[in-house]
Subunit: 340 residues, 2 copies
């Protein structure tokens, strides 16, 4: 591997400069992505066609010069591989025709295997071959609570109150379902490593909507089970968005990196998670500013994190209508920054 | 006033038991509300007709036995009084046909006066007369950042990225608009006090979506200005949802009570906000549980807050489809609880 910055930073080793990538870097911010997207039926055709997923994955490495690729996919491939298919509706987001409500719904789900998701591992193999050691490739999955929330709600939600109701009123079914999602995710991530993923990220996008007690019961233990099932060779990033209340529990996870969102105070997180590399956390909305302001905010962020144990990123996925010049200003500022 | 529990608790005085009310207690959880709602054209007819707003305000006092009434209204009456009307669309939420984007848009807004909102103060007078000292009446308004976010976005949003973009790219216009909203809100809350409101709450529903730096610049100072403009006689509750990162700043506000949501750890907030009464914070989704579980969780919450400086409430508005038995179990558990 030519560029090992992100792997070294993840393991807490000294690096010459802070590595940088961007959540949702492969996607609508790039004209090249939008061009390709127009030629296919829908988002899922890109996800399910290894050659296309490979092409999209490589775009930001070439165009933006980021220090890692992340495989182009979706966290909801897991429910689909378990037997619960979904559509990605334009201007709406994910939609499941059937959702999970009963014991028999859960019994009817299978544990996803490597074969169910071979379109992802095939894409990973193509990307690894095309990258030829240029930068590491990040694989990923949704964390079990976030995946469950979509399987119960059937779509996005401001409150996810149906999913939260399920946890309160059907705790045993919730644990059964989380267990099945967890087993599926472990199979999936092991297959990603086998196919060549150099690093992994778990996205717990809806962590912050649970009470601390619920997150300790229904969130953290399943993340821990995944982290502890994958061996020590592949660094793991856990991004539990909004989980300010769970920093102590996150700090105790068997993972290398904690992703933090833009609402978190860096110094506070450093104090509570002293043993891990942190990833983040520029406000994605800040990239609507002009490039001078982006550069200044990025420099300030870098100095607050300091030279060690930091992977520069945004605090959430980049917004699709972000000006590309600002995205480049963010990345180039990180790459040119030198600590005094 | 016969029942002064909530006013005493707000001021940090000893109380015989913890007072309790529920955000959105006047609304769709009550069959009596749903009955009345069917007889009118829309939500706004209820808000704008003092006799109807009064009737709705009184319902939970009679049916649920809460320790305070809160005037039935909406935070978006302020933009409307400033010259930016909105609709409340069924199954959608608020919608503004025109939104704010430019200097001239802001120049065209007026500072709302008492007269623009006399339908609210008239409703307050009717409620006060009908209550006849039974329980205190809470008035309220949206905090300036949350009100601005709707004026820019024109509707609800998962990210409020347009409003956040406005703060980053047009900071001067943002401050001008926040200033106008703040002046309008001060006029409005003074009129509510004049009409008889015994206590006030500022709802900053979207506080948690801003970065700490942005909230310190665009959120906190305007809340402070409102708090400091209203005198010391009427206790003020500030509910900045999701602002875990701003507890220090909230603690320094010139107000009596800080509302906390269900994602916050009570002990952590007590430690960082030792000088104020706290309001909250049961997860509204917990009320989907059976009444025994609701009672147990409520008792646990009361014991964690302790007997002093606590106003029992949920961590956010009650969900419309919450079983009424659970709502009653929450309220009755608080009212029957005695600390050892």
């Amino acid at each position: 591997m030519n560029n090992q910055l992100i792997l070294k930073a993840a393991r807490g080793e000294k690096v010459d400069r802070t590595p940088v990538w961007i959540m949702r870097q492969a996607g609508r911010i790039l004209p090249e992505y939008r061009g390709l997207r127009k030629k296919v039926k829908d988002f899922k055709e890109l996800v399910k066609t290894p050659e296309l997923a490979c092409e999209v994955t490589l775009q930001p490495v070439e165009i933006l010069g980021v220090d890692a690729a992340i495989i182009f996919s979706d966290i909801l491939v897991i429910p689909e591989a378990m037997g619960l298919p979904y559509e990605m509706k334009e201007q709406f987001g994910p939609f499941f025709e059937k959702t999970i409500a009963t014991q028999s719904d859960i019994d009817n789900l299978r544990i996803a295997s490597e074969e169910d998701l071979s379109y992802v591992t095939d894409a990973i193999k193509l990307v690894k071959s095309a990258l030829n050691g240029k930068v590491p490739l990040i694989g990923f999955a949704g964390a079990p609570w976030t995946v469950l929330s979509y399987m119960i709600e059937g779509q996005g939600s401001k409150t996810f109150s149906t999913a939260r109701k399920f946890l309160y009123t059907k705790p045993e079914l919730s644990h059964q379902l989380l267990e099945k999602i967890t087993e599926s995710t472990i199979n999936y991530l092991k297959a990603q490593i086998e196919a060549g993923a150099d690093m992994l990220q778990l996205f717990d996008s809806w962590a912050g909507i649970l009470s601390p007690d619920q997150y300790r019961e229904f969130g953290i233990p399943y993340i821990e089970k995944i982290c502890s099932s994958l061996g020590e060779d592949t660094p793991m990033i856990v991004f539990a968005k909004g989980a300010n209340f769970a920093l102590k529990e996150l700090s105790a996870l068997n993972c290398d990196v904690i992703g933090i969102d833009w609402n978190m105070e860096i110094a506070n997180v450093r104090a509570q998670v002293p043993n891990k590399t942190l990833q983040g956390n520029l406000d994605p909305a800040l990239l609507y500013s002009d490039t001078a302001k982006v550069a200044a905010a990025t420099t300030s962020m870098l100095n607050t994190f300091g030279p060690d144990r930091h992977i520069a990123n945004l605090g959430h996925g980049v917004y699709p209508d972000t000006p590309l010049d600002s995205v480049k200003a963010f990345i180039n500022t990180v790459k040119e920054h030198r600590f005094e």
